[in-house]
């Protein structure tokens, strides 16, 4: 895997670190329900799934 593509993975990690932590996570820190569930759960699981898809795509394309 080329250095450049490796860095994509590291950037993904850094972005996830921000998305899953304060202060960003406090944006969704409300007792509001969204689609019948607390919005914080929806947010966390959504990011979780997105991270799986993104790393799958990056690795599928660039892993040698």
């Amino acid at each position: 895997m080329k250095k450049r593509h490796q860095q994509k993975l590291i950037i993904l990690s850094v972005i996830l670190l921000f998305l899953f932590n304060i202060p960003l996570i406090l944006l969704f820190n409300k007792g509001v329900a969204f689609m019948g569930l607390p919005i914080l759960y929806i947010y966390i699981f959504f990011i979780w799934i997105a991270s799986i898809i993104v790393s799958y795509l990056i690795l599928k394309k660039y892993y040698e």
């Binding site: 895997m1 993975l9 996830l16």
Partner: protein, 885 residues
């Protein structure tokens, strides 16, 4: 459910797991054993009984927080695969078999450091193992008695299960003395269990969500009516946010440094490319495992409201309460499999550490240095077996005596914090070459002491109900020293607090000591090898600097004691072959010393290997500076060697072609001469024909040789150009005249009307040679009927451009560049050997390059090829033109 039934099911299940492991060992080449999914699934040993029951308990009592244990891994996994690649390469390259060995080797084969890491791991993990046993025992009680009282009867079933697990781990884990060998049986069994636990957990999740309730929204609506619900499902402000952050950081460290994770991810890794699958598969696995946690927790909270049911047991109690015993049994088996895979792998990883980094280096080395290979290997295996048994049994008694009333999560998190103390030494060692062994040791010790003070001591006092003012009032009644609120920061919960303070002191001490005390040269050598792994990995044994006196026969003796005669001889032969050394060599060099250390590392750990080898060799002290400069030099020599090899290869190719080119005419000369010599009565005409052929062929040979000499002279810069101011027009004209006869023969018209004159500095003979070459090529490829060739010039400020254009069929676009290669001849030429030597354009290019100009070919529309070269105008007269290649 009757105990008898459950016990028989457990026995059948364990038999199945034994069989899976046995089958995998037997079919170790099968694709069912060797594939990335097995690897990714084995990583799921991260999800223990704690995940199975504890997550639900935590979600039920304190809401969101359970997610932090999985968010850490999710965040780190994308980078994890890059990091792992480095770690795996180092581990494989040095035959490292455990985390303790990794850290000890990085800091120069430090025996004490290896032992320290081992002790920290054992202290962290034994309670964790007992936690699993506790989960087994409690759930067993629940499912057999339908009561939740876990501590009423001393039920010995757990003890027997523990013994069975120890047998399993000892049987499949100590087949080889070399601990770096893959334990395919255990890993496959763990992978199978990972599937089982996930499927069963999903089953109970679906059951609770869709059978007991009407889907997620229904549970949510009912649960939101419960008291405290909203405050549980949100992060409690900035303080809560910090707790959240440090807990996710903690789990990030744990996924990399827990001994069992290191075992499955690094030691048991078969192929690097398996990492590719992990990156998405493992987060997906964790996702599936966590989707239903909140629903089970909420469902339990709703159904068991105010009934005093332990939230850790919701997963099991929900189906039991609804008389669904079969489902309860599945849940029990899922939790059981989660627990046993953790117990087996942890005890395996710890036993390797215990034997290779604590027991052997401190107790058995002198015995081994006298023993025979058979006794030694048997003894090493026995040490590991005994370690496995004692670990599991100690864990069992620990559970019996200490952890009875604690929730699963609290002990698990304490283990995480203790393990996290290894993080500065580990990651510092990977990325920071100055990190020193003293810094690592002091850092780990301080960090551990802080953890003990802020977390372990108060926990023990709490759980054993010891009368003490320590927790509430601090040491000696000093408020600032309250263990759960050190320095009255008032921000964290106990676990993040302990994590923060212990790592703060740990890192500070590690860094300060490292920059202030110079490490030994050996340490620095390994630091370079670890930090700059990609650079030194290709050097293999050369990356190790060593000076001194050593004899092959002494080293051989030591190796034989552990590997036996056959394996030693085989390894040494391979080594001698690899470095092209004489087998009868008496003196050993640095490479052999390093090679033998590596050979032993897998069996007895790096520190012991080093001690054993150094006991038979005389090592001289080298300065740190020397180590670094030698490393640097080896690296450079390696690079230069590569360059030289490349050049050698080019030369070989060239010689091959030359030999071939010479052979053809010489063969025909020889054949013709032989005919003439043997047959005296050849008629005059034939004789003449033969002789003129011979003459032609010898001319070709001499032309070829002249060309080669020419080319080499130009290329090596031996021949200086005779630079003078010349008129380009007259040079072109002279060249055209030289080929006029040839052109007339083929009825080709050469036009030089578009040539403007300019006085340029160049070597007239050479440039004429180039133009003639281009012209004769053009003549060769021009249209047969109406051949037309045009010579043109273009002048600008910097250079003059001369082009020769024909109206032949052009050059294939693939060949526009390669036609300038030596001996390149266009593919679609006539079958007959062309007149040229195949060197013409190569020589032309050389000449033009010597003039610092450019030469290239392109096609023109509608048809034809054009070859163009340039000469810069600013060449000074008799300026030394350097070879521009």
């Amino acid at each position: 459910m009757s105990s008898f039934l459950v016990i028989s099911i457990i026995v059948v299940y364990l038999a199945f797991i034994f069989y899976v492991a046995y089958w995998a060992e037997k079919n170790s080449k099968s694709k069912w054993v060797n594939n990335p999914y097995i690897y990714a699934l084995s990583l799921a040993v991260y999800c223990t009984a704690w995940t199975y029951y504890g997550s639900v308990g935590l979600a039920a009592t304190s809401g969101l927080k359970f997610l932090t244990i999985y968010i850490g891994p999710i965040i780190i996994i994308p980078s994890w695969i890059i990091l792992m690649k480095k770690i795996i390469r180092i581990t494989k390259g040095n035959k490292i078999s455990s985390l303790a060995d990794f850290i000890s080797l990085r800091y120069g084969n430090d025996r004490f450091l290896g032992a320290l890491v081992t002790i920290v791991c054992v202290l962290a993990i034994v309670p964790y193992i007992s936690l699993q046993l506790k989960a087994i025992s409690e759930t067993f009680n629940v499912i057999t008695n339908h009561t939740i009282s876990g501590n009423s009867i001393i039920n010995d079933t757990t003890f027997y299960i523990a013994i069975l697990l120890a047998i399993f781990a000892a049987f499949f884990g100590t087949k080889y003395t070399d601990a770096t060998e893959h334990h395919k049986g255990i890993i496959t069994a763990v992978a199978v269990e990972s599937i089982i636990k996930l499927v069963f957990f999903l089953a109970i999740g679906v059951y609770v969500t869709f059978y007991l309730f009407n889907g997620p929204s229904d549970i949510y609506e009912q649960a939101s009516l419960l008291p405290n619900f909203n405050s549980q499902q949100t992060i409690n402000g900035l303080g809560g946010g910090f707790n959240w952050f440090f807990l996710s950081l903690l789990s990030m460290v744990a996924i990399m440094l827990l001994p069992r994770q290191f075992q499955v991810a690094v030691v048991e890794n078969k192929r690097e490319r398996y990492l590719k699958k992990v990156a998405w598969f493992f987060p997906l696995y964790l996702l599936l495992f966590n989707v239903f946690v909140i629903f089970i927790a909420w469902g339990g909270n709703i159904i068991f409201q105010n009934q005093g049911v332990d939230a850790d047991l919701f997963t099991l109690m929900l189906p039991l309460k609804n008389n669904n015993e079969f489902l309860a049994l599945l849940v029990f088996l899922g939790g059981f499999s989660a627990a046993i895979s953790m117990v087996v792998l942890s005890s395996l990883a710890l036993s390797t550490m215990l034997s290779n980094n604590l027991i052997i280096p401190y107790g058995f080395l002198s015995k081994y240095s006298r023993g025979e290979s058979k006794e030694n290997t048997e003894s090493i295996k026995n040490i590991r077996r005994i370690s496995i048994f004692s670990l599991i049994i100690v864990a069992y008694f620990f559970y019996k005596n200490f952890t009875l009333d604690r929730s699963l999560v609290s002990i698990g998190l304490i283990s995480f914090v203790v393990i996290a103390q290894l993080a500065p030494a580990f990651f510092g060692g990977l990325f920071w070459r100055r990190g020193s062994s003293k810094g690592a040791k002091y850092g780990i010790i301080i960090g551990f002491l802080v953890t003990a003070y802020t977390l372990i001591l108060p926990f023990i006092i709490d759980s054993q109900v010891i009368e003490s003012s320590f927790v509430n009032e601090g040491l000696f009644g000093v408020e600032l020293l309250k263990p759960y609120d050190l320095f009255e920061l008032n921000l964290f919960e106990p676990v993040p607090q302990a994590f923060f303070w212990s790592l703060f002191f740990n890192i500070t001490v590690y860094v300060i000591v490292s920059v202030n005390i110079i490490g030994s040269y050996r340490e620095r050598n390994f630091a370079e090898m670890f930090v700059d792994n990609s650079k030194y990995a290709s050097l293999h044994e050369d990356a190790y600097v060593w000076k001194g006196e050593a004899y092959v026969k002494d080293i051989r003796k030591v190796l034989i004691r552990f590997l036996g005669t056959r394996r030693t001889e085989r390894a040494l032969n391979l080594f001698f072959m690899k470095y092209k050394m004489d087998v009868n060599n008496q003196l050993a060099d640095a490479r052999l010393v390093n090679f033998s250390e590596k050979l032993l590392t897998g069996s007895i750990g790096s520190a012991s290997a080093r001690i054993l080898i150094s006991s038979v060799v005389k090592e001289e002290e080298i300065s740190l500076k020397e180590v670094l400069s030698i490393l640097d030099e080896t690296q450079k020599t390696k690079e230069t060697n590569k360059e030289l090899q490349e050049r050698d290869k080019q030369k070989d190719d060239f010689l091959d072609t030359v030999a071939h080119e010479l052979k053809t005419p010489i063969t025909s000369i020889r054949a013709l001469s032989e005919i003439l010599l043997d047959n005296e009565d050849v008629d005059y005409e034939t004789k003449n024909k033969f002789l003129s052929s011979i003459l032609n062929e010898s001319e070709r040979v001499s032309r070829l040789i002249n060309n080669i000499l020419d080319l080499e002279k130009l290329a090596s810069g031996k021949e200086k150009l005779d630079l003078n101011k010349n008129s380009i027009k007259s040079t072109i004209h002279k060249s055209v005249e030289a080929v006029t006869q040839l052109a007339i023969n083929k009825k080709i018209e050469i036009s030089e009307t578009e040539v403007t004159d300019a006085n340029v500095i160049f070597d007239e003979d050479r440039i004429q040679q180039v133009i003639i070459n281009l012209l004769s090529n053009a003549i060769k490829f021009s249209d047969k009927e109406k051949g037309k060739i045009a010579v043109r010039t273009k002048i600008n400020e910097h250079r003059i451009e001369v082009s020769v254009e024909d109206n032949g069929k052009g050059i294939h676009s693939d060949e526009l560049i390669s036609i300038f290669d030596k001996f390149y001849q266009v593919k679609n030429q006539t079958v007959l050997k062309p007149v040229g030597s195949g060197l013409g354009l190569a020589i032309s290019r050389q000449i033009i390059q010597s003039h610092k100009g450019l030469i290239w070919a392109d096609n023109v529309k509608p048809i034809g090829a054009r070859l163009t070269f340039t000469i810069p105008l600013n060449i000074k007269k008799h300026e030394k033109v350097i070879d521009s290649r």
